[in-house]
Amino acid sequence: MGAISDGFFESIRLLFSLDPYIYDIIAVSLRVSGIALFLSTLIGVPLGALLALSRFRGKQVVTALLYTGMGFPPVVVGLFVFLFLSASGPLGSLRWLFTVKAMITAQTIIAFPLVAGFTMAAVASVDRNLLRQLRALGATKLQASWAAIREARVGVLVAIIAGFGGVISEVGAVMLVGGNIEGRTRVLTTAIVLETRKGNFGVAIAFGIVLLLITFITNLAMLYLQKRQLLEEE
């Protein structure tokens, strides 16, 4: 119990000490997960909307693959990204392994099925009569699709937040492809693992608090947006 309380007080001291080691790791975490989320949103939202709104051959296969992707263990994603980016892999010439780019790639692959899957469910719940009405008002397919995404905005927002939650807390893939290199590829989750193993519980708890705070603030922002949406509807 003493180790926990000691670690907690130490973590508070560290967080207010403006130690560049701590803030560098926070910055790398936010950068990697932020860019990965941005890319996942760019891929996942249109893909989810496409699957929800259109019929094409092989749609069920794509949907099944997407659902598989939603439950894919991050460490396995990390393994495949590692194999592809390793010197003997097909993308080895990019020299991305143990760089932030490799981590962003892995996290994008982890997050986009989540974003696409939840977006698909949200957009599919939009009233079909509304879509027919929009077409009858002269909307192109693209305009009607955009309107459907707007109609499902709360669900799409939840999809994006789910994607963020999936990557910010992920440790296996970034550890494998990033290598946990101090000052370059060390992020909050990999730092927690490292510092715990070293017995630096204070530092590990400090990182844990930051991670929780980021998740909490993100969820708070989501709730605020949802509430604003509900107020608009009232």
Binding site: D127, L130, R135, A136, G138, A147, E234
Partner: protein, 249 residues
């Protein structure tokens, strides 16, 4: 000497149209719709009225036949109109489907689709006539059925469509809302010389608003005539039975 109605230009011409759903088939051997007329579609449920409306709005292609609109012919094999043609037609459905936004945003939505400037001066008479001035800032989700349908009609009229298709827009509405909608549509047809196709189950409504009336039954046109003729001396015995209430549905 041509009657005033016959002298109007033809907007739609349908020839040999067939839409087959297996258990139901719509067949329109020949039908012409005119500019500026209100063409009422009567018929029992399942007669094919809504299917015909979807064809007229290019929302579903026929299996065979051809349709000419504004001088352009569309075959069943290539039933995709140019966007500018598509944007001269619209449908108001029985159940108004509004965007989950404020009333004003719903009304101007078709203009935004067309990247047209929102001309408040042009829209205001429609809004006032439909009694929507006081609810423009309200979220669409809070509207009553009658208000929502009036918003749907305003949204359909703001871009001055050449063809307005109405799929039982006043079903389930109270007399006050029905009167507002009928008044708006009849004056719109007269002012814009647009083609209006109005599905109704209400013979009295067809008498009030229609120029010509068409009876559909089991996917076939039974009779098309002026409202005066069809309600006083129909050509077809089935029409007579339908109007007398002998055909139950």
């Amino acid at each position: 000497m041509l009657s005033q109605l016959e002298a109007r230009g033809v907007s739609y011409s349908l020839q040999g149209i067939v839409k087959d759903y297996g258990e139901f088939r719509l067949t329109v051997e020949q039908l012409e719709l005119r500019e500026g007329e209100i063409f009422c579609l009567l018929g029992p449920s399942g007669a094919g009225k809504s299917t015909l409306l979807r064809l007229l709005n290019f929302l579903t292609p026929p299996d065979s036949g051809k349709m000419t609109l504004f001088g352009r012919t569309y075959l069943s094999s290539n039933f995709t109109p140019e966007l500018q043609i598509m944007r001269q037609i619209t449908t108001v459905f029985q159940r108004p489907a509004l965007l989950n936004e404020r009333v004003w945003n719903n009304i101007v939505y078709p203009l935004k689709l067309r990247r047209q400037a929102v001309d408040k001066a042009a829209i205001t008479p429609i809004i006032e006539r439909l009694g929507l001035s006081g609810i423009l800032d309200q979220p669409a989700a809070t509207l009553s059925g009658g208000e929502a349908q009036r918003v749907a009609l305003a949204r359909a009229l703001v871009f001055s469509p050449k063809v307005l298709l109405l799929d039982e827009p006043t079903a389930n509405l109270d007399p006050e809302n029905i009167a507002i909608i009928e008044g708006m549509v009849t004056s719109y047809a007269a002012e814009h010389r647009s083609t209006i196709v109005w599905i109704t189950h209400n013979q009295f409504q067809a008498r009030r608003v229609g120029d010509r009336v068409c009876l559909l039954e089991k996917g076939r046109i039974i009779e098309v005539n002026s409202k005066e003729k069809i309600f006083s001396d129909p050509d077809n015995q089935r029409t007579r039975e339908f109007l007398c209430g002998d055909i139950l549905y």
